[in-house]
Amino acid sequence: MTDTQPVKRLAKAGRLPRDLIIGLAILAFCAVAYWITLGFAEAPPALAQNVQPASFPRMVIGVIAALTVLMIAFGIGKPGNPRPLPKISVFITAAMMVGFVIAFDVLGIIGAMVLFSIAMPMMWGERRPIHLAAYAALFPAAIYSVFAVGLGVYFAPGLVGTLFQGL
C-alpha cells in the first residue's frame, strides 16, 4: 500500500465536491437576506422614484447567489481539499475575543484590558508571572493614556471604574 492510497480512497468514498458546503451556506445566507428585504418598508413612489429601498439589496443578493451557483458548478467533479479542523487554541482565542468585548462593556476598558493581558498570554503558553504582571500593568496603562488622555476618547467607567470612583 502506497502513501497516496488513503487519500484516493477518501476522494472515492464520496468526499463532497469542492466548495459545496460553503456554497450552500452562502445560498442559505442569500435566502435569509432576501427574506429580510421583504420586511423593508415601501416608500411612496414619488419619493422612491421607482427604485424601492429593497431593490438594490435584492439585486446584489441575486448577484451573490448567481456567482455562488457558478462557484459550486466549477467545483463539481473536483473533490475538495481536506480542511483539518482548527486547533482548540483557535476556538478558545475566539471565545476570548468575544469575552473581551463583553468585559469591555461590563467592567470598563481598564478592567477588560488587564484581564485580557493576563489571560490571553497564559492561554498561549506564557507562564512567567513577572512578565505577565509587567505586561498587564504597562500595556493597558499606555493604551489608556494614548486614547483617553492623548486623543480625548471617552470610555464608560464600567464596574471597575465605578468601584475606583467610589473609593
Binding site: A43, T93, W124, G125, V153
Partner: protein
C-alpha cells in the same frame, strides 16, 4: 504652483517631517513583522489620526504604506516569512541567498530596488493622477457607475483562490454597504431595530476585523511554529556588477508595477508575482532562480514598490481604491472630511502635493532605515507572539471603538474577524470585501441617479462611449482569468500528451 509651494513650505515644518519619518519607521517595522501587514497597520493607525489635521494624517498613512511594502522584504530574506504578502516573491531567492551567507547583499539589493521602484511610482502618481482627474472631471453618474463596476470586476483578477470567490467577496461588501438608512427614501435596511446601524456599517471596524482579528485567530493556530533567522552580515550597497545584472529587471518591474498599480483593485502582491515571473522569463540563465538569483529579489521588490504610488492614482483621481491599503487611505480622506475624486485636485491641491512629497520622502527614508536598521528590524520577529498578538487585538478593539465611541463597532470588528477567519479557510480574501464595502455606496448612488436621468431606460447606458468602454473592460476583466485558466489547462493537457 502656489499649492506646490505651500506644500513644500509645510515640509520645512519639523513636525510634518517627523510625522513622515515616524510613519516610515513604523511602516518598516510592521512590514517586517510576519502577519502585521501595512494594510492592517494603516487600519489600526487610522483612529490615531482622527485628531490630526488632514495633511499630517494622510502623510503619515501614506508614508507607512510606502515603507510597509519594503519592510516585508527584511523578514522574507532573513526568516523566509514574508512580513507582508507583496514580499512573498522576494523570499523565493532572498532566503536562499541569505542562507549562503549573503544576507547583507540581498537586503541591500532589496532596498535599492525598492527605492527605485518607489520613486518611479511617485513620479507616475505626480504625472498620471492630475491627467486622470481631468478626464474624470466630466464624469456623470452613469460613468461613475460603470467605473465602480469595472473596479469591482477587477477583483476577479487579484490574488486569491479563485476569481469567482473574489467577486462574491466584492458583492458581499456591496451588500454590507446597504446596511443602514436608504438616503433617498429614509427607510432603514438590515438595521434589526438598532438605531446605531441607521448610519450604516462603518468600514473601518470591518476592515480592522477582517485583517487584524482574522490574523489573530490564524496566529492562534500557529503557536507551535518556530522561525529560524539567518544571521545578518553588514547590509551593503549592491556592487556595480549586481546593479548591471539587475538594471533591466528593475526597469521592467518599474513598468509592470506601475501598470498593475494603476488598475483599480490590483496591488503590490500581484505586481511582485508578475515582476518575479518576468525577471525569470527574461533571464538567459534561469538555473539559479529559486536558489538565490539576485534578479529574483530585484524583480519583485521594484515591482511591488512601483505599485504603491501608482495605486494612489485611481484612489485620488477617481475615488476608486487601487489596492487594499489605498482603500484605507481613501477611507481616511473621507473621515477627514475630504472628497476623493477629481474635485480633490481643485479643492485640495496643497494636500495632494503634500501626499506626493510625503511619499517621496518616505521612499528615501526607508532606504536609509533599511541600510542602517535592517539588522535591528529583523529582531522584531523575536517579540513573543503571546504578547504581540493580544496587544494587536486590544489595539484593534480600542481603535474600532474610538471612531464613534460605540461598543457596537467593537462587536462589528470582532464579528468581521471571526467571519474573515472562516472565509479565509474557504479561500476567500479580505480585500474584495473591503473594496465592495467602500465602493458600495458609489455603486448604489450612481446607479439610482443614472436610472433617474435615463428615466429607467437601461439601454441608455450604452449611448455613452465612456460607459460602453468601461463595460467592455469589465467584461474582459471578468472573462480573462477564465480564459487564462482554460489556456493553462490546455497547455497542461498538451504537455501530458
Amino acid at each position: 504652483m502656489d499649492a506646490f509651494g505651500t506644500a513644500l513650505v509645510s515640509f520645512t515644518d519639523p513636525y510634518l517631517i517627523g510625522i513622515v519619518l515616524i510613519g516610515t519607521l513604523g511602516g518598516v517595522l510592521v512590514g517586517a513583522m510576519p502577519g502585521l501587514s501595512s494594510t492592517m497597520a494603516t487600519a489600526l493607525l487610522l483612529p490615531f489620526t482622527l485628531t490630526m489635521d488632514p495633511i499630517p494624517a494622510i502623510a503619515l498613512l501614506s508614508a507607512l504604506y510606502c515603507a510597509g511594502t519594503f519592510g516585508g522584504s527584511i523578514t522574507a530574506i532573513l526568516v523566509n516569512a514574508p512580513g507582508a504578502p507583496p514580499a512573498a516573491a522576494t523570499a523565493f531567492d532572498g532566503y536562499p541567498l541569505a542562507q549562503q551567507g549573503f544576507a547583507g547583499r540581498a537586503l541591500g539589493l532589496a532596498a535599492i530596488s525598492s527605492v527605485i521602484g518607489g520613486l518611479f511610482s511617485v513620479l507616475v502618481l505626480i504625472v498620471a493622477a492630475p491627467l486622470l482627474s481631468r478626464v474624470a472631471y466630466n464624469f456623470g453618474p452613469p460613468e461613475y457607475f460603470a467605473l465602480a463596476v469595472f473596479g469591482l470586476s477587477m477583483l476577479a483578477t487579484i490574488s486569491g483562490e479563485s476569481a469567482v470567490k473574489n467577486l462574491i467577496g466584492g458583492a458581499f461588501g456591496v451588500l454590507l454597504a446597504t446596511v443602514g438608512m436608504d438616503f433617498t427614501t429614509g427607510v432603514d435596511r438590515f438595521t434589526f431595530g438598532l438605531w446605531e446601524l441607521s448610519e450604516g456599517i462603518h468600514f473601518i471596524p470591518v476592515m480592522i476585523g477582517l485583517f487584524a482579528g482574522a490574523e489573530f485567530l490564524k496566529q492562534a493556530g500557529k503557536l507551535d511554529q518556530k522561525r529560524f533567522r539567518v544571521a545578518v552580515d553588514a547590509v551593503r550597497l549592491p556592487s556595480r556588477a549586481d546593479i548591471k545584472r539587475c538594471l533591466g529587471t528593475i526597469a521592467r518591474s518599474c513598468g509592470i508595477g506601475s501598470f498593475i498599480g494603476l488598475l483599480p483593485a490590483e496591488g503590490g502582491t500581484v505586481a511582485a508575482m508578475i515582476g518575479y515571473n518576468e525577471a525569470k522569463r527574461w533571464a538567459k540563465d534561469k538555473s539559479q532562480f529559486g536558489k538565490g538569483d539576485i534578479r529574483g529579489i530585484a524583480g519583485p521588490e521594484a515591482a511591488n514598490n512601483a505599485a504603491t504610488g501608482a495605486a494612489m492614482v485611481p484612489t485620488l483621481a477617481l475615488g476608486i481604491p487601487g489596492s487594499a491599503t489605498t482603500a484605507i487611505i481613501l477611507g481616511a480622506l473621507v473621515v477627514h472630511g475630504l472628497r476623493p475624486g477629481p474635485h480633490l485636485f481643485t479643492e485640495q491641491p496643497t494636500l495632494l502635493y503634500a501626499i506626493f512629497l510625503a511619499m517621496l520622502l518616505a521612499n528615501i527614508a526607508f532606504a536609509f532605515f533599511g541600510f542602517f536598521g535592517a539588522k535591528l528590524f529583523a529582531r522584531i520577529t523575536l517579540i513573543p507572539v503571546e504578547y504581540l498578538w493580544p496587544a494587536v487585538f486590544m489595539l484593534a478593539c480600542i481603535g474600532s471603538y474610538a471612531l464613534d465611541q460605540a461598543v457596537l463597532d467593537v462587536w462589528i470588528m470582532v464579528g468581521a474577524g471571526l467571519l474573515g477567519f472562516v472565509l479565509q479557510r474557504y479561500g476567500f480574501s479580505a480585500a474584495p470585501i473591503i473594496m465592495g464595502l467602500i465602493l458600495g455606496e458609489l455603486v448604489e448612488g450612481s446607479l439610482k441617479q443614472s436610472l433617474i436621468i435615463f428615466d429607467h431606460n437601461w439601454l441608455m447606458f450604452f449611448e455613452r462611449p465612456i460607459v460602453v468602454t468601461l463595460f467592455v473592460l469589465t467584461a474582459l476583466s471578468i472573462s480573462l482569468p477564465a480564459i487564462g485558466a482554460a489556456r493553462a489547462r490546455r497547455r497542461a493537457r498538451m504537455q501530458e500528451a
